[in-house]
């Protein structure tokens, strides 16, 4: 209840309908939260439960026959640790490069006096809606000479048109007077970008950073298509392979190892999302603020 310094009995009274609404909406949100959390909790429980208990369907929310065997197996398997390393390094490098490139494209596009701005914006938006397809993209990557290299995970998806548009709008939201005063002081465009626009657009940049980081972390299809060397496969590829093996019990397996159990698959999934869960709370406030600040303006 809002207290605006008034005496008791003089505060804002909420009607019954508003109270009912608050209760109902609270209940719905709680239900939705539980629906989102329950599967996650179950996966966590399966990851730390005994194989037989998991296979027998005895796990609902709480673990049974607690064991860290599955997680230890994941950590001891070089594939997973290698995949984690590739994912971490590619995410960091990709995010940095993507942010830099996105800033360099978004800033000039945010200058309303840029000649040909409409045409360039159209070019950006058009490529967001239509692309050449898998084969031409593959040919471009091949002709860049980065097939089967670490850079195949970085360069092809380095700029997201959606993020460019978000950042353009973020820059547009910064008062023009800031730029003008910098110009008066003799600053060049690059100085303005680095010293004025980027610091002021931090919330938007943080949101975009999170978008890029999560996209790269979860990305697997480009890795499968552009990379042959298995030591360059990021973690999602390895997890997807593991989960797929376990789901398709009629598929001829490797024969050298038994199919992964449900418990191991759950442990692998938990292993893959831990880094994101650790980082996200620190960026959450920027995420919400940045998305709304970067919203399309007129």
């Amino acid at each position: 209840m809002v207290n605006m310094g008034k005496k008791k009995g003089q505060g804002i009274r909420r009607g019954m309908d508003e109270k009912v609404f608050r209760v109902l909406s609270g209940a719905l949100i709680l239900l939705f939260s539980v629906a989102c959390l329950l599967p996650f909790l179950r996966v966590v429980s399966e990851a730390v439960s005994g194989d037989t208990a998991v296979a027998s369907g005895e796990i609902l929310i709480l673990p049974k026959d607690f064991t860290l065997k599955q997680l230890k197996f994941i950590l001891d398997t070089p594939q997973f640790t290698q995949g984690m390393w590739v994912s971490l390094s590619s995410t960091v490098v990709y995010t940095v490069i993507s942010i830099v490139l996105t800033c360099m494209l978004a800033y000039p596009l945010s200058r309303t006096d840029l000649p040909g701005r409409r045409g360039l914006m159209f070019y950006v938006v058009f490529t967001m809606l239509f692309n050449g397809g898998m084969v031409p993209t593959y040919l471009v990557v091949k002709n860049l000479g980065i097939l089967n290299t670490f850079w195949a995970l970085i360069i092809p998806l380095a700029i997201s048109q959606f993020n460019v548009i978000v950042l353009v709008n973020g820059f547009l939201g910064i008062p023009k007077e800031m730029e003008e005063s910098a110009l008066i002081d003799g600053a060049g465009q690059f100085t303005i970008l680095v010293r004025i626009m980027v610091p002021l657009a931090k919330p938007t940049l943080a949101a975009i950073l999170l978008f890029y980081a999560v996209a790269r972390w979860n990305g697997w299809f480009d890795a499968v298509m552009y990379v042959n060397d298995r030591s360059l496969f990021p973690l999602p590829v390895i997890i997807k392979d593991l989960v797929q093996q376990g789901l398709n019990t009629s598929m001829f397996p490797s024969l050298t190892t038994p199919p992964p159990t449900q418990a191991i698959r759950s442990a692998a999934v938990i292993f893959s999302i831990v880094p994101i869960i650790l980082v996200y709370p620190f960026l959450q406030k920027y995420f919400v603020k940045g998305v709304t600040l970067g919203g399309v303006k007129g």
Partner: protein, 552 residues
């Protein structure tokens, strides 16, 4: 200043447009060679003008590209697909160098397609998908083996199988025979302890015995008698379907009166559906079977809610059986009873062919690749690829039984190179040394000796035909089968015939006619001799301990 800015902006826009145009023009650099180089190769002569380190050259040091099928087994530290003792052995014995690419386990078809389209494939592809050659043949990306087959040890040794790789009268795919397990079918896994408590001491021998067993479980216990999932036209129902002679796990076609027909549309399929509906109506199978999955089925069984389960193959058994034992359950594989019509019930999951091999149209030295196939088919090379080096990876006694050393037990990664793998080797390598025997050989019992073969399995299959067959099955057959059993559609002869006619009219008739014509053109052979067991007469490593009686 403003004018300069404008000029710069215009130049930038022009540069972007030009770069877009540049990206869409031109051909990939490593496209198909000229016809002259093909002509020189076809005459069997080497064309060794270029530097030996360049890919595609013949002669010693020529680099051969091999694209191998996917597997999830990792290489140990310090090893890779091009850097291990097996490839070194190949290099030493053949004089070739190798550029080996292993396809990923996921989206491998898309990856291969991209590699072909991007001109990345200049050598030979080993594939498990037998429709793959037809896809690339249709795009004119392959070259045939015909000019190089004469005198080839590989093609002479495996000549009986090569019909499956022929397209337009030419050998576009070389077919490698079975990886050792041609007969692998579905399994019944039953709770022998539960059956014992309700007075069932022997496994059912006939259809009536089997049916009585299910209804006894229903009336005397609280358990689901038979756990199944998905539509009755799918693989997981194969053991039940086999009771009506309509088993179709990977073998959808049959020969009836000299014609190739789809099992799902045969008259016996109506009897099968009628039986499935009865099982559903009487609560013998779960009411929610359509929404269950393989995992939830396991949970039902391992959680003491189901007394019998159908397993689609043996591959999940190494984890399923121990989990069952840990739950103090006495689980056994149950033999197929005789069928509804008194016939021997047979299930199939054929693996008569291991892989197909095809050459890229860009390949400049096809003869070298056939030479490599000849090398890989040599018995001593097969032995090295499958077992490693004697003394280092295995020891062999006078009877020929092999025992892996510690180094040999760490040769899982060699699975990528076991492309030619004879059936007798499977017993040793995987059956005994990788402990699969107790799980696999029980399934083989239900396919060995069958005479109701699938002829299409032995013929070349066009990708377009398989796609059509899959689409018709999903949209017409699976839908009808599911609805007929649950009662959403009334199961009558009329509705069944209507479904069959719908399937025929939608393209099924053309498929049947095409396959019948193809089958007759090759002499309507009888393939039942292919359904054999390779289990040695003496097999101390396999006991049959999970069979009903606990022994083979």
């Amino acid at each position: 200043m403003k004018k300069l800015k404008k000029l710069f902006a215009m130049l930038l826009a022009a540069a972007l447009l030009l770069s877009t145009a540049a990206c869409t023009s031109g051909q990939p650099e490593s496209k198909a060679p000229s016809s002259s180089s093909k002509a020189s190769s076809s005459s069997g002569e080497s064309s060794s003008q270029e530097d030996a380190a360049e890919p595609g050259n013949t002669g010693s040091g020529a680099k051969l590209q091999l694209i191998l099928p996917s597997n999830s087994t990792p290489f140990p530290d310090g090893m890779s697909e091009n850097d291990n003792f097996l490839v070194d052995y190949w290099r030493e014995k053949t004089g070739f160098d190798f550029d080996i690419v292993i396809l990923p386990n996921i989206n491998s078809a898309e990856k291969l397609n991209l590699m072909f389209s991007g001109g990345e494939v200049y050598g030979m592809v080993f594939e498990k998908d037998f429709t793959s050659p037809s896809r690339f043949h249709d795009q004119k990306m392959l070259q045939p083996f015909d000019d190089y087959m004469e005198g080839s040890y590989f093609f002479e040794t495996f000549k009986d199988f090569q019909g499956k790789g022929q397209m337009d009268g030419q050998q576009y795919a070389a077919i490698i025979p079975t990886d050792g397990i041609p007969c692998s079918s579905s399994l019944y896994v039953v709770r022998k302890d539960i059956l014992g408590t309700i007075g069932i001491k022997e496994q059912p021998k006939t259809f009536d015995d089997f049916n009585s067993m299910l209804y006894d479980i229903k009336s005397k216990t609280e358990m689901i008698p038979l756990a199944v999932y998905e539509a009755p036209s799918k693989d997981s129902w194969d053991t039940i379907a086999s009771l009506f002679g309509v088993s179709y796990q990977h073998n959808a076609w049959a020969v009836r009166d000299g014609n190739v027909v789809l099992r799902h549309t045969m008259p016996a399929a109506f009897d099968y559906l009628t039986y499935c509906k009865k099982l559903y109506d009487d609560g013998i199978i779960p009411k929610d079977f359509l929404s269950l999955t393989s995992d939830t089925l396991d949970q039902l069984y391992l959680g003491d809610q189901a007394a019998t389960i159908i397993k689609e193959g043996c591959w999940g058994m190494p984890t399923f059986i121990p989990a069952s034992e840990e739950n103090s359950q006495e689980s056994r594989f149950m033999d197929y009873p005789t069928g509804y019509y008194g016939q021997i019930a047979s299930g199939f999951q054929d693996r008569f062919f291991s892989q197909c091999v095809y050459l890229s149209d860009s390949c400049q030295n096809p003869q070298d690749y056939v030479t490599l196939l000849d090398f890989l088919a040599q018995p001593e090379v097969v032995k090295v690829n499958n077992f490693g080096l004697e003394g280092e990876h295995y020891t062999e006694d006078e009877s020929g039984a092999m025992t892996l050393t510690e180094a040999g037990e760490n040769l899982q990664w060699a699975v990528y190179y076991r492309n030619i793998f004879l059936p007798e080797d499977w017993y040793q390598v995987y059956g005994i040394n990788a402990n699969w025997a107790e799980y696999y050989y029980p399934t083989e019992r239900h396919s060995v000796g069958t005479t109701d073969f699938d002829p299409v399995e032995f013929m070349p299959q066009q990708a377009a035909d398989v796609t059509l067959q899959t689409e018709l099955k999903e949209t017409i057959i699976d839908q009808y089968y599911a609805k007929a059993v649950t009662g959403e559609v009334e199961l009558t002869q009329e509705t069944f015939d209507a479904m069959v006619n719908e399937w025929l009219d939608a393209g099924g008739r053309e498929l049947q006619e095409k396959y019948t014509e193809q089958y007759k053109a090759i002499g309507s052979p009888d393939y039942s001799h292919m359904y054999v067991s390779y289990l040695p007469d003496e097999h101390p490593g396999y006991t049959g301990k999970y069979l009903w009686d606990g022994h083979e």
